[in-house]
Symmetry: C3
Subunit: 236 residues, 3 copies
């Protein structure tokens, strides 16, 4: 889907909208009772909220850049089973901050990054594939995927899940990478129809692994239901 | 969606249909083997069955009125991840009764109430918000949400979940209410893309809390994707 | 949906596509690191992969025939919450084999069987019902449902779940069958909006049980939203 314009609702807490039915919000002082129910760290009175109907990988990668650029921490990453009838996840990501200006800046950075991080999401009527790559994983990627901080990280997703199995095999055979995790419909996802592989290692190897998986995944998806274009513009 | 007419299938157990792809059924004497597998209380040989593709809150509130009006008990409330590509839940609610006439009456009452309880469900292409209010919670609300019996109760739902976070904060800041529970995609939902807040307290405060959350939620949803009309007619 | 033609992507591992956005793949030598992450039995270096956006019952029944016909084992059956906005499951089934030719043959058999096993899946805008029957359950049915090997087996599914409750009651009252399992949105499904009954016993009784449930289920579904045709051609 194309990026949403989103009209300003005249609410202080509203930051903006983005592709994937994404909305970005901030709360300057979270109500103490709610703060406790949300199990937030007491040191953060302000939060940034990034939520979407479609997409979790793109949002986690965008949040990773936001954390690098601001004085915030990722305090929660939750994956809904969504994508509006698609095979994947929606997401809810909460940033903690001592100052609301930091929370707002984090959400602004994340919303802006989404156009890039949707670049290697390819879809058609049968499903989707998603690839993500960073030369240096930060705290959002670490929190969400358990990837080592400061190292290259690659995310490889195929849906229906069968495609993700073959993409995973190609990814690990192509280059000398380490496996961080392997998720499937019944293990590690919110029952999404995806197989998700997470790899780390030397940046060149991770990139090679991801691009090889992309090639085979795209061919399989297109064999099922024709052209599977990028959601925006490929970045890897 | 508009209320479904539903043709009579000529089956004794059929009671009727309603909005949300809802169907109401009764079984006069549940088969003993099935009765055991369903873990029903042996004292109830009859059951009423209320199920829907779209909606859980509206059905639980409708069931609450049905329990008040009949000699039945809520024996199960199960939430599917459904809404036909939407962000929320479908539902399966089972009433236990000693007499099938009681079970049938409960289903009739619940089916009729649904037109009202869908009144504060507002939706558009980006998601939905839902508000529910009762001055006196009964056994269905208690069973499903853990709300105290006989007290005012309010339900506040926002989808995508990010909207529900801000609605929750507004709700608890607006009036002096107590929190019953807070659910999110990874905690307390069936991986729906919702944040759900449940509040109790003085009836005026609960109502004020719910209507304030409605106002901000509707603005946010409409900022994402334009007008978000009521599914029927607002009642709160 | 009609059977997909599927163009050949020119990938050795590709076997074919089928109804339900199904894809069949093989891997001759699973990468050792991935093999371990997937928790495969070390004796199987080759795997067959059967995955679909729509359907789990049809795929498990098809896999059951594939296992009977080949030298393979079912090593995993995972159910996604999918069906592209529908009320049910998608699936990922992994066959283990010592030789890739066996894995490929299993996938070929399964893909071919799907046209039959979708025969008693009936759907309309409100939901679906599904019936399956075999005179002799094999290892896929045993693995997925816990059904006894070599005995007749019947699967009864209704969605929305309320329909499945009444279908289940009719099924067990109609004939002298034993219950294998009863699943519902919150127990035994991946939060699908289904009630699923599994029965075993004398083959005549199982068949009678299944066809009686089909009759009532179809009437209820059609009372909700009009004609609910077979996905292909009924086989029971």
């Amino acid at each position: 889907p194309a990026s949403k314009s989103g009209s300003n609702p005249g609410i202080t807490e509203f930051v903006g909208t983005a592709i994937g039915d994404t909305i970005g919000l901030v709360i300057a002082n979270v109500d103490p009772m709610l703060h406790q129910k949300m199990k937030l760290d007491p040191k953060y009175r302000s939060i940034g909220i990034l939520g979407a109907r479609t997409g979790a990988g793109p949002h986690i990668m965008a949040a990773d850049e936001a954390v690098k650029a601001t004085n915030t921490e990722i305090v929660a990453v939750e994956l809904a089973r969504d994508t509006k009838g698609g095979a994947g996840h929606g997401s809810l990501i909460i940033f903690g901050a001592e100052e609301v200006s930091d929370a707002r800046r984090a959400i602004e950075v994340a919303l802006k990054e989404l156009n890039r991080t949707f670049g290697d999401v390819y879809g058609n009527d049968a499903g989707h594939i998603e690839l993500q790559y960073t030369a240096r994983a930060s705290y959002a990627v670490n929190k969400a995927f358990g990837a080592p901080l400061g190292k290259a990280f690659g995310l490889i997703v195929g849906a229906p899940a069968a495609i993700g199995v073959l993409m995973s095999d190609v990814a690990v055979k192509t280059a000398n990478v380490e496996l961080v995790a392997y998720s499937s419909p019944a293990n590690g996802t919110s029952f999404s129809n995806e197989v998700i592989l997470m790899v780390t290692g030397d940046s060149g190897a991770v990139r090679q692994s991801v691009t090889a998986a992309r090639e085979v995944g795209k061919k399989l998806l297109e064999a099922m239901a024709g052209p599977a274009p990028s959601s925006t513009t490929p970045y890897i």
